[in-house]
Symmetry: C2
């Protein structure tokens, strides 16, 4: 009933607890006979070291805290999958928390992780969270911290892994321009840094093409598909009509498409749509969604690497800012025939259940 401890093994064998500890940690100063006896008994009793006790003495929990805004969003889940791979390979566990886009919950999760003595924290911070001070304290007390995807809390000194959001907006817009679209609207996200940068990229691309974006082309919305839906309803009333829209993220783009369909229009013939983020299953939609993607797995892995660099304790941490480059994911919704990626290829292997 009570799990086996070193004490038990030591008592059984008439040796000291330290001897057992040394055997298990491969210290050199244990004789082969004793070593064998200990190992045998360990095997026999199925002894597993108590990680909690180990953490206490070693001051290392081999645990990473992960705080993301939304468990249901495939983007973050894929990032977590990337993290998990690297962490697992190093014997680390992931303590997963969802802030549900709530700054208060984010705060309490962060404090919980701190009190649990996690060796590092990976955070995609909620917008408007005034947790800057707490994060500064975490970073200052030597806690490894990496912020991912979102670029707020500029005063917090820590590693960051994100994409080039202005380039995201620029690529999406330039792609639509290349398809011959000229009246390109933008469904903007909330007042969060990376959303604003996508908008800036959109504006810059239009200007570079000699087009001045009309004010009414930019509808400030949000990141949810309902936001995209309502924003699109508004855009559909414009005269002269628009012929394309870049939505700040994929859910909003999907909402926009629904509004377009409802109005009896066709994507991409009447209005081309491009999103951002490369959400899972974007290829399986009624009209497969063209989007700007950046590798979430890469993002997760780089974040994990930076965390471990810091944990491994080069004190001279120069905080890095890793940019995951975005790339176009061309599907049907933008009006370009995607080369060879039509309905004629067998589906790629997706995960099972």
């Amino acid at each position: 009933m009570t799990p086996t401890t070193m004490k038990r093994i030591a008592a059984d064998l008439g040796v000291s607890i330290t001897t057992v500890s040394k055997v298990l940690n491969n210290h050199a100063d244990i004789g082969p006979a004793t070593r064998a006896r200990v190992l045998a008994r360990v095997e026999e009793l199925g002894y597993r070291p108590n990680a909690v006790a180990r953490s206490l003495t070693l001051r290392r929990t081999h645990t990473l805290g992960v705080v993301i805004p939304d468990l249901m969003h495939s983007f973050f889940v894929e990032v977590v999958a990337g993290l998990e791979t690297v962490a697992n390979a190093r014997g680390y566990g992931l303590l997963l928390c969802s802030s549900t886009e709530n700054p208060r919950k984010e705060r309490s999760e962060l404090e919980m992780l701190r009190s649990r003595q996690v060796d590092g924290i990976v955070l995609a911070s909620v917008h408007g969270s005034n947790n800057t001070e707490l994060l500064q304290r975490i970073a200052a007390t030597g806690g490894a911290l990496v912020m991912i995807d979102r670029d707020d809390h500029p005063r917090v000194h820590c590693h960051r892994v994100l994409t080039d959001d202005e380039l995201v907006g620029r690529m999406a817009t330039e792609h639509l321009l290349a398809q011959g679209r000229r009246a390109i609207a933008h469904i903007a996200g909330p007042a969060i840094t990376h959303a604003k940068r996508r908008e800036a990229g959109y504006v810059a691309a239009l200007r570079d093409a000699g087009l001045e974006p009309r004010p009414e082309w930019i509808v400030r919305g949000g990141f949810m598909d309902a936001d995209g839906y309502h924003a699109m309803q508004h855009l559909l009333t414009l005269d002269p009509p628009i012929d394309a829209v870049f939505a700040a993220n994929d859910p909003a783009a999907i909402g926009a498409m629904q509004a377009i369909w409802e109005a009896g229009l066709v994507v991409p013939d009447d209005i081309a749509v491009v999103g951002a983020g490369d959400i899972a299953h974007g290829d399986l939609l009624r009209v497969p969604l063209t989007t700007v993607g950046w590798s979430k797995e890469e993002l997760g892995k780089r974040a994990a690497e930076l965390i471990f660099d810091q944990i491994d304790g080069r004190e001279d941490v120069a905080f890095r800012r890793v940019i995951i480059p975005p790339h176009m994911v061309v599907r049907a919704s933008c009006g370009e025939e995607s080369p060879g990626a039509g309905a004629n290829t067998p589906p790629q292997s997706r995960r099972q259940r």
Copy 2:
């Protein structure tokens, strides 16, 4: 740099560590003056108790281990979201592990969780994992254990939360029968218990309707969309042709639809399709997928409740088997007009990013 400890606070105030501990744990035998002084200093230094040390003495980590086969599959992620909600409300954290459908990794995750002394484990076990013995040991040594969704390891005594898979198969098939379909094929899953039950439900429903399923109507495939795709290619060669297909899960159903489209046929006019699992975004597909669903949030919550019941330690644990009832999710792919759920309603609120 070194985080504040009780020792530090006690020394500052000239009281014993125990006194500080008692204040923080609201023991009655501390005078109001001392209590106030301690609390003031705690506040001042921003003291947070070290959860690791607490875990060691209290023999409670306030952590649940979660092992799922696939982080990328929306089904499990939604279950985890349900778990997270309940766990968080009780001050519990979730240590998330993905077995990536690999029995060996499942085993090592389970052992890792055990050595980390988690208070309970929620497991969706990989098929064919011969971890039965390990699970029995976990259950026997008093570890709280709940198995979810999958119903293997019959000899392990623990709580289970799952759906009625035979009913899933039956409902899907009966729904197709009700649409007037008669030549209904089945894309079966792998040789895992819940897949076999779905197949049994399919067969039973046909027989109840006085139809004998032809052997060639059942194609043993898998749970991945590529499996559904290839299975469907085969089914398309049958003569007389089929007019409907029930796939053992949604990814397979999606693969099947791709094969149908490629053959130049129309869903549901030529072939109706029903899946199982109610995958995320099933409503946004080229043809919205009719499927049989069961609440993942409910599943996650019930699992968490059972875990906590066991942790709270009624010794008289009668292991429960909670069935989450399945329900039809009628969309376009089965040929029935879904009432009011067409493209005319605004999209439901989906999560943002």
